[in-house]
């Protein structure tokens, strides 16, 4: 059990080390802040791509094109089968070939030349399914419904905005892989930087550590202030990087998005969640501790081994 006054001693020593390292401390915090900031940018990107996905899914609908000249019984049976696939709140509207053509003509009423070239009725009849997705509804589920419907008899094709879904999904997947890769590299860099800074502190206090060992300090007693110092490096860098990220988000991204009509169809971009912020700060503190531990491991090795 650690005496509370001993804990106070650890904190005091950590702060002394922290101040003593001077420029090295600022350099180390600066570099770690930048590396964590880069991680943060990717997190921000993933969070907002997720939002775009969610926004798209709220407007999800499936268009089911039917083959020509289907008997009315087949059309009815298709409708019954579709309503079995989707939940009850969903709307299923049947648009006949004639209605489809009329709708088409109405939409293109100012382009009579084009319409004049259209002979007969090339448009298929279709069902428009307006889904009312529940909270747990996912693109995966939508895709499964669409595939199930496509397999039914008399179906010409199904459209559920798969291209947009697939593109966004692919981007998110790539980003996720990228963030894991870059997270690993940046994490390693952070570890090395902190480890070097602590090692310099250890060299500066080599004699003090020797005397501590001599008077019977346990290795953990010697380690604690340095572990705290590494943790402080990590935590400060984590907080600073989040601050920087928030400034970029608030004064850069939000303003750019608001000013540009291209982004109007997108949902309001969001900052990373509290959980993510917490995880980022905690993991940077943890990295700091680990960095210290690495340099201490080599430094405190006993001559007796």
């Amino acid at each position: 059990m650690i005496h509370p006054q001993t804990l106070g001693y650890f904190c005091k020593e950590a702060m002394i080390n922290f101040k003593r390292a001077g420029a090295m401390t600022y350099a180390s915090i600066g570099v770690i802040t930048v590396t964590l900031f880069i991680m943060g940018i990717f997190l921000l990107l993933i969070v907002n791509l997720r939002l775009v996905q969610d926004a798209l899914i709220k407007k999800a609908s499936i268009i089911v094109y039917l083959k020509d000249n289907l008997p009315i019984e087949t059309v009815q049976s298709i409708q019954t089968n579709i309503s079995r696939q989707v939940n009850q709140a969903s709307q299923i509207v049947y648009i006949s070939k004639q209605d489809a053509l009329e709708g088409f003509k109405k939409e293109l009423s100012q382009y009579e030349d084009i319409l004049a070239g259209v002979s007969g009725n090339p448009l298929p009849a279709y069902f428009e399914i307006k889904l009312t997705p529940s909270k747990i509804f996912s693109w995966e589920r939508l895709k499964n419904i669409a595939i199930a419907i496509e397999k039914m008899e008399g179906i010409e094709g199904v459209n559920y905005g798969q291209k947009a879904v697939e593109v966004i999904g692919a981007i998110t997947d790539v980003l996720r892989m990228f963030i894991i890769g870059i997270g690993f590299i940046l994490g390693l860099a952070t570890l090395i930087i902190i480890s070097n800074t602590i090692e310099l502190a250890l060299f500066a206090r080599q004699e003090e550590i020797e005397i501590m060992k001599l008077v019977g300090a346990t290795p953990w007693f010697i380690r604690c202030p340095y572990l705290l110092e590494g943790m402080i490096h990590g935590l400060i860098s984590g907080i600073l990087s989040l601050g920087l990220l928030w400034l970029i988000y608030h004064f850069g991204l939000l303003k750019t998005f608001a000013a540009n009509p291209i982004f109007l169809f997108l949902p309001q971009i969001k900052f990373i969640s509290w959980q993510m912020m917490g995880s980022l700060i905690i993991s940077s503190g943890f990295l700091g501790c680990l960095g210290s531990l690495l340099s201490l491991h080599y430094f405190l090795r006993s001559n007796r081994e």
Binding site: I2, H3, Q5, T6, Y9, E207, E208, E210, I211, M212, K213, L214, V215, G216, A217, T218, P219, F221, I222, S302, N303, R304, E305
Partner: protein
């Protein structure tokens, strides 16, 4: 207190520091280890406070087999041993009081207990009036008294001193030896390494003469 059985220490590159040493030091005894530079005096002391392991042989300190003591137990052995060096090994950015209190801080005592015990030993080495001074503001003899205070503040059963008066004038050296002898009168076993055989013999105590890693007298 200390038993060495056929202790041999060979450093890396084959340098033999001690060769087949057999020694018995009783509780409360004063022992001088003498010999020229390179005789193995420092190695002898380092083995006792478990700074190094013997290459072969058995070493018991206060009933503990130090030759095979696990690293995790070394700090607890050292809390029962006070070590004093020729070059004092003080922390120059800490005051006299902090230097002595340091030995108690690292074993996790409360501030009140640290204060009480530190003042007590500073009083013994007659440095209470200089407790706020920094080591560089003290004379050599005073610095060595701070080192002694740090060595005895834990109430050790054993004090090891490596040439403790090597850097001091004769008068001051005698004064320092008085402090060691006083600690010994309180029951602490004392092992002092010195190259000055004449002075050791005058003390009329157990003298172990080393030369090239062997006991020669």
């Amino acid at each position: 207190m200390i038993q060495m059985r056929h202790i041999t220490k060979v450093y890396e590159k084959g340098i033999q520091a001690l060769n087949d040493i057999n020694v018995e030091i009783d509780r409360g005894e004063v022992v001088f280890i003498t010999g020229p530079s390179g005789a193995g005096k420092t190695t002898f002391l380092k083995l006792i406070y478990a700074e190094i392991k013997p290459t072969s042989g058995l070493l018991f300190v206060s009933g503990k087999n130090v030759s095979s003591l696990p690293s995790r137990d070394v700090p607890y052995l050292r809390r029962r041993i006070g070590v004093v060096y020729q070059d004092f090994k003080l922390l120059y950015q800490k005051t006299v009081f902090e230097n002595v209190a340091f030995a108690l801080r690292v074993i996790g005592l409360s501030s009140a207990e640290i204060y009480r015990r530190t003042l007590k030993v500073l009083n013994i080495v007659e440095l209470t009036h200089k407790k706020e001074a920094f080591p560089h503001q003290l004379s050599g003899g005073e610095q060595q008294r701070v080192a002694i205070a740090r060595a005895i503040v834990n109430d050790p059963v054993l004090i090891l001193a490596d040439e403790p008066t090597g850097n001091l004038d004769a008068g001051i050296a005698a004064n320092i030896m008085d402090f060691f002898m006083e600690a010994n009168r309180q029951g602490t076993t004392l092992v002092v390494a010195t190259h000055d055989r004449e002075k050791a013999l005058k003390m009329n105590t157990h003298v172990i003469q080393l030369d090239s890693g062997r006991i020669v007298g």
